[in-house]
């Protein structure tokens, strides 16, 4: 019980800190922007990790991110749907691709699945790149509606232009994804995923339909990644294939999750909140051309020195979840 109170206390303190600091520093807009994007990439990392909980390492999550971004952008551009509607529905395009992925890669495991997922990223990217009449090809779509203004009586919040409001929106989405991620670890289904990850033969022997359960994890993961992509499209106001299907977007969630601790409830969030601000606020001004090398270095150090990630150092996480 002590551990239970301790972890909840730590979580509450972290959430309070994340929610409170912009009120103390309302003029730190650059920090609000960077930490807002940190929340977005943390959401992507949480999405990636839900699939990884079943033992699958994906190098193609940018496909889900990009499809969510493009579907939302197209719905907004052609059907004039509000981003609030286009984002959650556009993410279904990512789910559709996940269905194809799950069927196509059902026999692949380990490094082969990783390589296949890397190759799979090229499919939607190439389609979007070449379907000029629909997607405007490599030029991308510009002038997308920004995130909307929320009005409650005389109280108005502009999520599109007010970076503080945008930060809170992205923080809220991340916390929602973290709650889903937590359930994906702690629930009975979470233990099913863990059983599959640790020994698929044994899990199957216990009556676990391993392909179906891993597929469920992938669909959930793809949906959350698609929502992240939709958010990105409407924050930036544009989408381009080279931007949203970028391999970097497959690597970021992997690095954040491994560094933070991919078996820990808060691992991917912790990884994102340490590495992304470090890269954007410290390394980018110092090394404008080579700041992304940080991620390569972090992967190597993580694998060699703390393979369970830094969240494993927290007292509440001394054992894998």
């Amino acid at each position: 019980m002590g551990k239970f109170h301790y972890s909840w206390l730590l979580t509450a303190a972290a959430v309070l800190l994340l929610a409170g600091w912009p009120l103390l520093f309302p003029d730190a807009v650059h920090f609000q922007q960077v930490l807002g994007l940190t929340c977005l990439y943390a959401t992507l990392a949480l999405a990636w990790n839900i699939y990884a909980l079943s033992g699958a390492i994906s190098l193609g999550h940018a496909a889900f991110f990009g499809l969510g971004a493009y579907a939302s952008a197209l719905l907004n551009h052609y059907c004039h749907w509000s981003p609030l509607l286009a984002m959650p529905l556009g993410a279904l395009a990512s789910v559709a691709f996940a269905v194809f992925w799950n069927w196509g890669f059902q026999r692949l495991r380990g490094v082969y699945l990783g390589l296949a997922s890397l190759a799979a990223l090229e499919i939607p990217k190439t389609v979007v790149d070449n379907w000029d009449r629909l997607t405007y090809g490599s030029m991308g779509l510009v002038g997308l509606d920004r995130l909307p203004v929320l009005a409650l009586g005389s109280f108005e919040v502009d999520f599109g232009l007010n970076l503080q409001a945008q930060y809170y929106l992205l923080l809220g989405v991340m916390l929602l994804a973290a709650a889903v991620h937590r359930q994906s670890i702690r629930s009975r289904w979470g233990w099913t995923l863990r059983a599959i990850r640790e020994n698929e033969t044994a899990a199957q022997g216990l009556g676990v339909a391993t392909h179906r359960e891993r597929g469920r994890a992938l669909l959930l993961s793809a949906y959350l990644a698609g929502v992240s992509g939709g958010l990105y499209a409407h924050i930036m106001g544009l989408v381009e294939p080279a931007l949203v299907f970028n391999l970097h977007l497959s690597v970021l969630p992997l690095v954040f999750s491994l560094f933070g601790g991919s078996k820990m409830v808060w691992g991917p969030v912790l990884g994102a909140f340490i590495l992304y601000p470090l890269e954007q606020l410290l390394l980018m001004p110092l090394f404008p051309m080579g700041h992304s090398a940080l991620y390569g270095l972090v992967i190597i150090l993580t694998i060699f020195f703390f393979p369970r990630g830094i969240a494993a150092w927290l007292p509440a996480n001394r054992k894998p979840a």
């Binding site: 044994a202 199957q204 009556g207 339909a209």
Partner: protein, 255 residues
């Protein structure tokens, strides 16, 4: 002992299986009554594990069928058979290495669909299953840190936690001490008394003699003899299969 075993829990009908040009099982047929313990013996390469794999859904036969609890299950995948009440252990124990012994067994009790148990009840049941195999004091040890014999017991406890109707044990006693075999035999007999049906294979005749109602001897994919343990292990063909024809002839004389 086999009086109440009129209803077949498992029927294996004319199973044939080949790998490329090598025939591993040749029209193997037998049945196993509810609450019966059947031991499967045979030298290495006789086809015992292949037969286990076919019964538990890990391999498909070339022809023939498997009927489990009155339903044809030949084409069922292992997970469906697991949900239907068939559990097994493997020659090389299949554990969850990064889980403790208790968590391993908990997987059996908690992931089971019928009846669904809340976590505290599932934990209680997992503890009880570990107690049955004599590993309660090692419940917090990581499964990968346990010696192989104890990993086998963890796997057995986890199989029991699924509350199976039929339990297949593939060389469960390999590496066990004599005392451990005796404890295991006593435990298996208790389980049988509670209505569990068991099919087991082992090279240790002491275990099979102690628990099996019936033995079935397999050699080069064929059933060469079956009957009560005491008579079967002196059967000339069985002795020949294990020790060669010279010993088999002598055994025939002495039987």
């Amino acid at each position: 002992m086999a009086a109440s075993k009129s209803q077949a829990c498992l029927e294996v009908r004319q199973i044939k299986k080949s790998f490329r040009d090598q025939t591993v099982l040749r029209e193997v047929s037998f049945s196993l009554g509810e609450g019966e313990i059947l031991g499967l013996i045979g030298p290495n390469g006789a086809g015992k594990t292949t037969l286990f794999n076919i019964i538990s859904g890990w391999q498909r036969p070339d022809s023939g069928s498997v009927v489990f609890c009155g339903r044809e299950t030949t084409a069922w995948p292992p997970d469906r058979l697991g949900r239907a009440g068939l559990a097994r252990t493997f020659q090389s124990p299949q554990i969850f290495p990064d889980m403790s012994a208790l968590e391993n067994v908990l997987m059996g009790a908690w992931l089971r669909r019928e009846p669904r148990l809340p976590l505290p009840r599932a934990l209680e049941e997992a503890g009880h299953c570990l107690f049955l195999v004599g590993l309660l004091d090692r419940r917090h040890a990581l499964a990968r840190d346990l010696p192989l014999a104890q990993q086998r017991l963890v796997e057995l406890a986890r199989a029991l936690a699924t509350r199976p109707r039929l339990l297949l044990l593939d060389e469960i006693a390999a590496g066990f001490s004599r005392a451990a075999v005796q404890r295991l035999a006593a435990g298996l007999l208790k389980l049988r008394d509670r209505g569990l049906t068991l099919l087991l294979t082992d090279h240790l005749f002491t275990l099979l003699e102690a628990v099996a109602d019936r033995l079935l001897a397999l050699d080069r994919g064929e059933i060469i003899a079956q009957g009560p343990p005491a008579s079967l292990i002196r059967h000339p063909e069985v002795v020949s299969a294990y020790l060669g024809t010279r010993y088999g002839a002598n055994a025939g004389g002495g039987a």
